[in-house]
Amino acid sequence: MRPDFFDRHSRLDSPIHRLPASVKLAAALVMVLGLVMVTAERWPAFVVAGVLLLGVAVASRIPPGFLVKRLLWLEPFVLGVAFLALFQPDGGRVFAVLVTRSTLCLFTMILLSSTTPFADLLDVLRRVRVPALLITTLALMYRYLFVLVAEAERMRRARASRTFTSRRAQLWKSLGTVIGQLFVRSTERAERIYAAMCARGWR
């Protein structure tokens, strides 16, 4: 996986990208809440929302293939939960409504994350008084997320290239070691980061 796969297009230039992050976040929240409140009888609202979202997608100039790929990648999670709804009275209709509604919500959130850099979203959260400790945690997490994912992938590859077994017990054991090592390295990295932060006048 490429490290920037998920918000690769968040720094493009388009009328949508130029909107303030707070406006986009508020609009996405209103859209999702609205979709959640719409009942099955008022289904035309789903069509209106779909058209609106497609308009935004076109205006944002994000490659359509990327959006479709993201949507398909997440759809199994929706179908998995919606699947349960089939086993109850009138399940087919409930299933259809759930899948439509959730897919539109997913599309909204994918558009938000592909038109707004995560750092801008964090800035909005800070302005609405989300506690500073949580913001610091989120900012550091976002910064080191891809570093750690790449590190884990590297350790796994190194391990795979040196062992010739594909026995399941061995796989589990090596996964445990990789994750354990990852934690040890994360704590060491955290200590170095703390020293660097202090050196630059943090607190």
């Binding site: 919606a82 349960l84 086993f87 400790l133 945690t137 354990g180 934690f183 955290a190």
Partner: protein
């Protein structure tokens, strides 16, 4: 177990949002009071660590794969308050950056996996730890708590789906719980293996945590306990008393009793052939109870196998 948008209704969104906000507030207060400043970056790194660990899939039977949730792992390594903060950060990033788990379901997901899974699992861990000491006790308690936390989160999740009127309880409860009784086995095994690996590579990391956490005052314990019981009372209690009737009705109408039995294959009780109990809901509850005893025994054996007798004591 990430609930997407669109599966919870207004009242559930409000209730879970309030419960999660309360839980995160209590956790932040506790962390701010107890965590030394030099450990603040560790929260962010631990969140990135849990995220990266969740991306590593492990093979499960039949070509499918699962991944770690890490609530109990984070709680054992960092303490329950920090675990809630870390899992909240993971869920927020997954929601806003990856669209995995809905915004309106963020409260529910934080409550299920962070508060119920993390803090509830940690409580179980502490109880077991009181009886079983040493490295073996640590590994066993963590494995058992990880399994329990997975099951508890699934029960809470099923309750929210039923409370929203999305999926009836008599379907949601057996399906969610039976699947997660199995997934929990993977979670328990991986949690144990990771803790054994850390104990071998850097025992000091495990030894440092208990002494910092014993000072977890009565106030957070009380508040967390209150929040969890409130959530369970709201989402689970109304259904727990009425499940046999509702299920019988649905089973009669659709004849799905056989379908519902599918996911239970290989669970502690492979079919519902428990004498005298005919409904999936009751049988699931009973399977859960028997499973708890069996997993407790398995965790005990696992710890004996994984940790050699001469292992250095960590706490």
């Amino acid at each position: 177990m990430h609930i997407p948008d669109g599966f919870l209704d207004g009242k559930t969104i409000a209730a879970t949002g309030a419960l999660a906000a309360g839980g995160v507030a209590v956790a932040l207060r506790q962390v701010r009071r107890q965590l030394p400043p030099r450990k603040v970056p560790l929260l962010g790194l631990a969140a990135a660590f849990i995220f990266a660990a969740q991306m590593l899939n492990f093979p499960v039977a039949g070509g499918t794969s699962g991944h770690l949730v890490g609530g109990v792992l984070a709680a054992v390594l960092l303490g329950p308050g920090a675990a809630v903060v870390v899992l909240t950060a993971v869920l927020i990033v997954q929601c806003f950056l990856f669209a995995d788990g809905g915004v309106t379901a963020l409260g529910a997901n934080i409550f299920n996996m962070g508060v119920v899974g993390g803090v509830g699992g940690y409580a179980i861990y502490r109880v077991v730890r009181r009886v079983f000491t040493g490295t073996r006790g640590l590994v066993m308690a963590a494995a058992f708590a990880a399994w329990c936390a997975t099951a508890l989160s699934a029960i809470s999740c099923a309750g929210q789906l039923a409370f929203s009127g999305t999926v009836v309880w008599s379907v949601a409860f057996p399906a969610m719980v039976n699947v997660h009784l199995l997934i929990g086995l993977g979670e328990a095994l991986i949690t144990a293996l990771v803790i054994v690996a850390i104990a071998r590579a850097r025992p000091a990391l495990l030894a440092a945590t208990p002494e910092e956490d014993t000072s977890l005052g009565y106030e957070p314990v009380l508040l967390f306990g209150l929040l969890i019981s409130l959530g369970l009372a709201l989402f689970v209690a109304p259904f727990a008393s009425s499940w046999p009737d509702g299920l019988e009705k649905v089973a009669e109408r659709l004849g799905f009793a056989e379908h519902a039995a599918d996911p239970v294959l290989g669970a502690p009780i492979p079919d519902y052939a428990v004498p005298g109990i005919s409904t999936a809901g009751m049988a699931t509850a009973l399977a859960g109870l028997i499973g708890t005893v069996v997993v407790f025994g398995l965790a005990f054996v696992l710890a004996r196998v994984l940790v050699p007798k001469s292992a250095p004591e960590t706490s």
